[in-house]
């Protein structure tokens, strides 16, 4: 036990400031305020791999490492789409995942946002469309923002998340 505590003390806090926090203060404050107003520091994300190569997943997982410390910003991943504000979708949507993705989307309460992740999620990427791939996420569910990159870096993902919450969310009819 003692060696665990010593190690934690020895390493200290690695978490870094939010992207752009020293160059773009007003923008960040604005994002923070909006986040706070809408979610009260409780933005919840449901991730769905709709056919990714697993590269994008690695970078999404990296968001929770001590350097990016997503949870420290009040943003967390949840297991159920019913608890989520944002649907974070990776991959070209495979034909075999199309139905599951639609159901996850429908299970989410309003207001909600959908973020397509990676070149694949944004435009189909190297896999494109074909007998087994529907291509971009937007061909299956409405998308509010996309984060390009193959895979996108954790910083781009953070920026994408902060960016989408500045847009009007999808409201139910």
């Amino acid at each position: 036990m003692l060696n665990i505590i010593n190690r934690i003390r020895g390493i200290g806090i690695l978490s870094e400031a939010l992207p752009g926090s020293d160059t773009d203060e007003p923008r960040l404050r604005d994002i923070h305020e909006r986040l706070h107003r809408v979610f009260g520091r409780a933005l919840r994300i449901r991730h769905v791999d709709a056919g990714s190569c697993n590269g994008c997943e690695l970078e999404i997982q990296a968001l929770t490492n001590p350097y990016y410390n997503l949870e420290g910003m009040g943003i967390a991943f949840v297991a159920s789409p019913r608890h989520a504000d944002i649907l974070l979708v990776t991959g070209p949507v495979s034909v075999n995942m199309e139905e599951a993705l639609k159901r996850a989307y429908q299970a989410m309460p309003h207001p909600k946002w959908v973020v397509a992740v990676g070149d694949c999620g944004a435009c189909g990427g190297i896999f494109g469309t074909g007998y087994a791939s529907r291509g971009p996420v937007s061909s299956v569910v409405p998308v509010d923002a996309s984060v390009q990159g193959c895979p996108p870096s954790p910083l781009s993902l953070l920026e994408g998340l902060l960016h989408v919450t500045r847009q009007p969310a999808q409201h139910g009819s």
């Binding site: 665990i4 190569c53 697993n54 999404i60 490492n65 001590p66 350097y67 199309e98 469309t129 007998y131």
Partner: protein
């Protein structure tokens, strides 16, 4: 039917490891399977090809691993009745490979499990997408039907369906548990959810661009797959890669191994209730990825390995930071290993959980890391070393225990060994070119690339055609062999231990689904 023994030899096959190729007839196909099984060989993969446009037949291929070499058998199938004898009686791993080959090409293995595997009803049953007369672009919807899982009957038995979407940030797949109380009586996997049609996609790509798609078959093994593709291409075209480039490729491969093992070691601690492990290991991994960005221009080395060599050199200025990093990582991992080893709560969850006995592992044809944790002493870097592993002489890692603890131990040991190899590579980096040009293709040609990735052997079989196009490209991830192992390892355990057991294997979904 009496089967004459056949010679398990063939003509030389262009590859980065010793490999042979032999054309057989249906009887020889079966006789060879029996002999290879008795000789202790492993079935690595099985795939098909539509050659009706060339000589009026389909073909099915089986690649086996023998001591020190690979052997590929080829069997031609009549276009009117494309069936072949099943390899399942000798090699259980053949079952899902044969089901996939039927889904994609309509080649039938006669007997055994005939349920579809990759086709979930997303395209029609009688439309075989990998046939040459089926267009790559058109999506023809099929009719999804129920999938007949094997039912377990008895007092108090009930089913728990899980997936395809799982609770965490992981890939999709379906697990059907039959349980009594908390105890798992049977697990049946259903995969194929991330099937994107990679094999068909390859056929639309120029030969010199295939490595980019190969790297994205399985993003966590990008180096292994892109190297396997380039090795196949270079063997097929007779290109010789300069020693400096092979060393830089090995450096990238070992970094990929270390990074994945570190990620898994953290996640395994977390799944067993020690969140401290996750933050510690993920921080070390993050520092490695950042150095990757500085040295190779990418956090994950998706496009570092290119036909003929590597994309960029590692200059003398960058060698020192890489060596310093190896020292830091080693120091941290040694300290964390001591903490893991002494943590009673962690060891209690690890030891005896998800046991895969060496005999079962052998019978199932287990490969790679999971195999080595269950006494299967096979690491291609040791068994058939390709350049530069012949000079590096890596030490194989082995455990006989077969539980989660053994898979943790193998990861720790392999991290240490990869750090040692990294240091050797950096200290003795040969001078010279980092890439050579690929000779133009004179005629139709084939090549094989076989690389020990962090999960196990990754294979690419490439058939190239003038003018510089991919005619057929088959990629194989060891997860094909290892997924069925989890069905065995989880039996008799409690449902709440499944995530831990599953993580201890950490198999590929996309790499498997293709």
């Amino acid at each position: 039917m009496s089967l004459e023994p056949i010679a398990l030899e063939g003509s030389r096959l262009a590859a980065n490891v010793p490999a042979q190729h032999r054309v057989v007839d249906a009887d020889q196909w079966t006789a060879a399977a029996r002999q290879l099984h008795d000789a202790g060989a492993r079935l690595l993969t099985l795939w098909g090809a539509d050659d009706r446009d060339r000589d009026g037949v389909f073909r099915v291929f089986a690649a086996y691993l023998l001591p020190g070499r690979a052997l590929v058998l080829e069997l031609a199938l009549a276009a009117g009745d494309p069936t072949y004898p099943s390899l399942e009686p000798w090699f259980p791993a053949a079952s899902r490979l044969q089901r996939a080959t039927r889904d994609l090409l309509g080649l039938g293995a006669g007997e055994g499990d005939t349920r579809p595997w990759l086709r979930h009803g997303g395209w029609p049953e009688d439309r075989f997408p990998l046939r040459r007369d089926v267009s790559a672009e058109t999506h023809v919807p099929g009719v999804p039907g129920p999938y007949p899982f094997v039912r377990v009957n008895g007092d108090g038995v009930h089913e728990i369906p899980v997936g395809p979407i799982h609770a965490g940030t992981i890939e999709p797949g379906h697990f059907r548990f039959s349980v009594v109380g908390e105890k798992v009586l049977r697990l049946e996997e259903r995969l194929g959810y991330t099937h994107k049609g990679v094999a068909k996609r390859f056929e639309a790509l120029p030969l010199l661009e295939g490595h980019r798609l190969a790297a994205r078959v399985c993003g966590d093994s990008a180096v292994a797959f892109s190297w396997a593709y380039c090795a196949a291409l270079e063997a097929a075209t007779g290109a010789t890669v300069a020693p400096r480039a092979t060393c830089l490729r090995a450096l990238a491969l070992e970094r990929e191994r270390i990074a994945n093992h570190l990620g898994d070691l953290g996640a395994l601690g977390n799944d067993a209730g020690l969140a401290f492990g996750l933050s510690q290991f993920s921080a070390i991994k993050e520092r490695m990825l950042r150095l990757n960005q500085n040295v190779f221009g990418q956090r994950y080395l998706m496009d570092y390995i290119v036909p003929g060599g590597v994309r960029s050199d590692v200059g003398p200025r960058l060698v020192r930071p890489l060596l310093d990093e190896a020292t830091d990582v080693e120091r941290d991992v040694v300290a964390l290993k001591a903490i893991y080893d002494e943590h009673a709560g962690l060891q209690d969850r690890f030891k005896g959980t998800g046991q895969l006995a060496p005999l079962t592992a052998k019978a199932m044809g287990a490969l790679g890391l999971a195999g080595r944790a269950s006494g299967i002493d096979l690491d291609l870097r040791v068994a058939m070393p390709w350049a530069p592993y012949g000079d590096l002489r890596p030490h194989g890692v082995l455990s006989m225990d077969g539980d989660v603890a053994a898979r943790v131990q193998v990861r720790f040991d392999e991290v240490m060994e990869s750090l040692r190899l990294n240091r050797l590579l950096l200290e003795q980096l040969p001078h010279g070119a980092t890439s050579v040009s690929i000779p133009a293709l004179g005629s139709r040609t084939t090549g094989l690339g076989l690389i020990e990735g962090w999960r196990g052997p990754v294979m690419v079989a490439l058939e190239a055609e003038v003018p510089s196009v991919i005619r057929r490209c088959h990629v194989h991830d060891p997860s094909w062999q290892n997924w069925p192992l989890i069905e065995h390892a989880v039996t008799g355990n409690i449902v709440p231990d499944f995530p831990l057991i599953n993580k201890s294997f950490n198999l590929a979904y996309s790499g498997h689904d293709g």
